[in-house]
């Protein structure tokens, strides 16, 4: 969706404010919210795609005003409500993450890489491609600044679950994910410097470039 989160290329947010010796968390509720968000998906089926989609659904003005982990709170409340957990509790057949397995669970990760068998790559390194000019109303990882712009396939990262389709509830739709190199000028016009933006894009976002 064309939400507030899609910030690449916007102006007017002011200087970057840094903090010396910044702590990992700034308040105890941030610690607890981070931990909740990490632990809940072990008992309640949800993916990062669903999580990000809910953050993106926060109204633009609220999104900008909210602390980072406040957005996590809002997203998880929405996810828990959708899944009936607030009303009915933990889904049947699931178990909460146990303290003694936390480090193993962190180490195992939750890769979205999928078997590549039989999934052909439409593009090869060096191919010129154009990002589609699409404006889906749901979750997408194709930033607005790249839509309709052309670049070059820099790398084929392999086959991954497709965020847009997974967030919609249409399953993983596994496909190749490519790193596409966009010249600064192609994105920002002739005043852009000697810069290149590398962006990871799923095959569904791309067409062969016609020029």
């Amino acid at each position: 969706m064309n939400g507030m989160h899609d910030m690449g290329g916007m102006d007017g947010f002011g200087p970057i404010r840094r903090e010396d010796n910044e702590p990992v968390f700034h308040a105890d509720w941030e610690r607890r919210m981070f931990a909740l968000a990490s632990a809940i998906p072990f008992a309640v089926p949800m993916s990062d795609d669903h999580f990000r989609q809910e953050i993106e659904r926060v109204a633009p003005a609220t999104y900008l005003k909210s602390d980072y982990y406040e957005l996590w709170y809002r997203a998880h409340m929405a996810l828990l409500q959708q899944r009936g957990v607030i009303e009915h509790g933990r889904p049947e057949g699931t178990k909460p993450l146990a303290a003694e397995t936390v480090m193993a669970a962190i180490g195992a990760g939750a890769s979205t890489r999928m078997p590549a068998d039989g999934i052909t790559a439409r593009f090869a390194v060096g191919d010129r491609v154009t990002a589609r000019n699409i404006h889906p109303s749901g979750h997408t990882r194709l930033p607005r600044y790249a839509r309709g712009r052309s670049g070059v396939i820099d790398a084929d990262r392999g086959v991954f679950s497709f965020a847009d389709s997974n967030a919609r509830g249409d399953g993983p739709c596994p496909q190749h994910l490519y790193t596409v190199a966009f010249a600064g000028e192609a994105l920002w016009g002739e005043d852009a410097g000697n810069d290149t933006v590398y962006l990871d894009l799923w095959e569904s976002y791309l067409d062969p470039a016609t020029r």
Partner: protein
């Protein structure tokens, strides 16, 4: 956004001050999730401990120092970063599919996530507030030289800047150039030179 609000909101709940609205709501959510059997409080404590004490940029600094000290390791790091990083024991959430990009005199790399806050947790820990903030996310792709100048980094005009907008399934880390002062150092001493911002690409070492 987050960073800008720190002066305006008193959500700190130590020192006997009243809990803010969001602190109360998160506490209520935690209590409810424990009551419903969705989470165990001890597991939450363990997660916090891991990200406050075990998982952070010192991990990435060890990876960088090893790459500076061992050319064969550096080759493995640049060709299969996930496996090379796992050799040092770092793996897992938000680092399942890693790519390391090397700074050279000709090329400077920097990392951003314009859509949210994607960041390589196993090697850098959780991101600083500025990395997640609107000013950095909005401008890193459009005006990387202006952003770098705010960090005190000025590069020659002929240096190519590569901005890696990590909005999908790959997490990136920058391999900074080794400073001349590191030449006669041990690997552990070299690791002490490596900063978090150096591995994001917003600082030179």
């Amino acid at each position: 956004m987050a960073g800008d609000d720190h002066d305006d909101h008193d959500y700190r709940d130590h020192g006997g001050s009243v809990l803010s609205d969001i602190a109360l709501r998160v506490k209520a959510l935690e209590d409810l999730m424990v009551e419903k059997g969705v989470v165990e409080r001890a597991a939450l404590d363990k997660i916090v401990e891991a990200y406050e004490h075990a998982i952070g940029p010192r991990n990435g600094a060890r990876v960088v120092a090893r790459a500076w000290s061992d050319p064969a390791y550096k080759r493995r790091l640049l060709s299969d970063a996930t496996a090379a990083i796992a050799e040092l024991g770092y793996r897992g959430l938000q680092g399942e599919n890693m790519v390391v990009v090397e700074n050279t005199p000709q090329v400077h790399n920097m990392i951003v996530c314009t859509l949210c806050s994607c960041y390589p947790w196993p090697v850098l820990g959780l991101p600083p507030v500025w990395y997640k903030s609107a000013p950095y996310r909005s401008r890193a792709v459009k005006d990387p030289r202006g952003v770098l100048a705010e960090f005190g980094v000025t590069l020659p005009p002929e240096t190519e800047i590569r901005v890696w907008d990590s909005t999908a399934e790959i997490r990136y880390m920058v391999l900074p150039m080794q400073p001349a002062s590191a030449r006669d150092m041990s690997e552990a001493e070299r690791a002490a030179l490596v900063t978090r911002d150096g591995m994001i690409g917003t600082a030179l070492l």
